[in-house]
């Protein structure tokens, strides 16, 4: 009898799913025929006609939409990759500092985590853009011997220029994600049984040696799932670039939708872009996880 009920429920579930998909597809075809645009990707080879502020490769308005989207892809990857590195670095530092329960450093990092985690990312991006960079009125706000230069034009590192939009996004994403990564790091370290601390201490090992040789290796596997989900969030959050006017894949898609009305196609492009990117991140982290586990045995 129980089997029959289960079977029946599954049939109902499948029916609901079919009806849902049918409604969506029906809506889509009605809307497409109403706008009279149709559904195809031939427009990708037409000239885009808009200019881009941020172009790591050669680009002019006479280039195709496809090329504009590719530039957006590279812009997205650039900011995601660099933010990922900075966020991890800052996150590890803050996470370690947070472990000092009663010290001043511990207090500061706890405050950092609280403020950053409790405020919206959009607000923080606005802050870095309008308060952080656009307010640097004179051209060299911070200038360390031609090495790094912060100004209204962004960051100049060894003559490599990063726009203020990119810099604001980089700061915002890195700092926002670092607070979450710090908690992942702290959680991972706290997951190591306290007996392990007592064991290395009782052997006369210093806190530093014990931390590096005993605690960190055991905490590493606990870092991976948390880090993966933070990296996925970071990649998705990068689409807020549009708020500070950075031409990432989302912002360029947005412009193209406005120009051509090709919303469905653009959504499909965006969707698959992030699906591929995040599957890549997940798989790389899975690989790292495997490496950590296999290095033990």
């Amino acid at each position: 009898m129980r089997l029959n009920i289960k079977f029946f429920l599954q049939i109902v579930l499948i029916l609901i799913l079919i009806i849902f998909v049918w409604i969506i597809l029906n809506n889509l075809s009605i809307n497409l025929s109403r706008t009279g645009i149709g559904f195809d990707f031939y427009w990708l080879s037409k000239p885009a006609g808009f200019s881009l502020a941020e172009k790591p490769l050669r680009y002019s308005p006479s280039d195709t939409y496809a090329w504009a989207l590719f530039i957006g892809w590279i812009n997205s990857l650039k900011v995601i990759f660099l933010s990922l590195i900075f966020a991890t670095f800052i996150g590890i530092l803050i996470g370690f500092a947070r472990l000092n329960k009663n010290s001043f450093i511990g207090l500061i990092s706890a405050g950092y985590i609280t403020v950053i985690r409790q405020t919206p990312l959009l607000l923080q991006l606005m802050f870095w853009y309008f308060v952080g960079f656009l307010n640097l009125r004179n051209n060299n706000f911070l200038n360390f011997n031609q090495i790094i230069n912060f100004s209204v034009q962004g960051i100049d590192l060894f003559g490599i220029k990063f726009s203020s939009e990119f810099s604001a996004l980089l700061f915002g994403l890195s700092i926002f994600s670092s607070a979450f990564i710090a908690e992942v790091i702290r959680g991972g370290i706290l997951s190591v049984p306290f007996g392990q601390w007592e064991a290395f201490r009782s052997l006369g090992l210093s806190e530093r040696t014990g931390f590096i040789k005993i605690i960190i290796p055991q905490a590493l596997p606990a870092f991976i799932p948390g880090l993966t989900s933070q990296y996925l969030n970071l990649a998705k959050n990068s689409t807020l670039a549009i708020a500070v006017g950075y031409s990432d894949i989302y912002a360029i898609n947005d412009t193209i939708i406005n120009q051509t009305g090709r919303a469905i196609e653009c959504f499909i492009i965006l969707l698959s872009s992030f699906l591929i990117l995040n599957l890549l991140i997940t798989n790389i982290m899975g690989l790292i996880n495997k490496l950590i586990i296999s290095s033990r045995k």
């Binding site: 049984p193 007996g195 392990q196 007592e198 064991a199 290395f200 201490r201 009782s202 052997l203 006369g204 090992l205 210093s206 040696t209 040789k213 005993i214 290796p217 055991q218 033990r296 045995k297």
Partner: protein
């Protein structure tokens, strides 16, 4: 007779005004075995942990191998003590990501700065004394509880300690595995190792210990030789505790 350990009025209180340790005093002479007994929550673990600085205390003074510590934490002194005092835990606390031999040589190489080959040779020698040298390349989780605890003893011995602390070393073991660990400890005692042992094993305490310290609610109820303690305990509280143990 060289005195290895002198505790004077060790007192530790928790925040609620409850005393974990209440004016605990005792001495231990080189080559002797002190067994600490008492009901759970009596402060046995806290007491043995103060000896190598895993627990702090609020009043009193402790003299371990001539190094004096008090309520003011002096990391350098505590480190000195830890280099000369070994400890074996209830839950073994082996490092799961290191092989058995790496577990054993970690401290000799990193703390005593000995050569790796020398540390490994000595580690293998100690393992063979315990009859578990065939496990040297394995990881802790591949060993039985009794084997893991014997590795933990070897790990403590690798630093050539002058005093060994055992915090309920057989409490986490299957009954049929207890004896292999107790035998190892018996051998150590016979070889003249100075030991402090927190345990509920009456037979072991009767046979091996030179002194039994009975602790209840953080207070020393009595310190007697095992002959007297187990046959003719002077205090009502001790007799009650021993009756309870017998019933189990």
């Amino acid at each position: 007779m060289e005195t290895v350990l002198i505790a004077k009025n060790i007192t530790k209180s928790f925040s609620k005004g409850i005393n974990a340790l209440n004016k605990v005093s005792f001495t231990l002479v080189k080559g002797k075995v002190l067994v600490i007994m008492g009901p759970s929550g009596s402060g046995k673990s806290t007491l043995i942990r103060t000896i190598n600085g895993l627990e702090t205390f609020d009043e009193g003074e402790l003299n371990v191998l001539g190094i004096k510590i008090d309520s003011n934490i002096d990391e350098r002194k505590i480190k000195k003590i830890r280099r000369r005092v070994g400890m074996v835990f209830q839950q073994f606390n082996l490092f799961p990501h290191l092989t058995i031999l790496e577990n054993i040589t970690l401290a000799p190489i990193n703390v005593q700065k000995r050569q790796q080959t020398e540390a490994e040779e000595f580690g293998m020698y100690l393992l063979s004394q315990m009859g578990i040298d065939s496990h040297a390349k394995k990881y802790p989780n591949q060993l039985s509880g009794g084997e893991q605890q014997r590795v933990a003893i070897v790990r403590a011995l690798a630093l050539k300690p002058e005093l060994l602390l055992f915090d309920e070393p057989t409490s986490a073991l299957d009954p049929e595995r207890i004896n292999e660990v107790l035998d190892a400890m018996r051998n150590l005692a016979n070889q003249g190792m100075t030991m402090v042992v927190v345990t509920h094993e009456i037979d072991f305490a009767k046979e091996v210990s030179d002194k039994v310290l009975f602790l209840d609610n953080g207070k020393v109820i009595e310190i007697s030789s095992p002959d007297i303690f187990f046959s003719n305990a002077s205090h009502e509280r001790s007799r009650k505790f021993l009756n309870q143990l017998d019933k189990n």
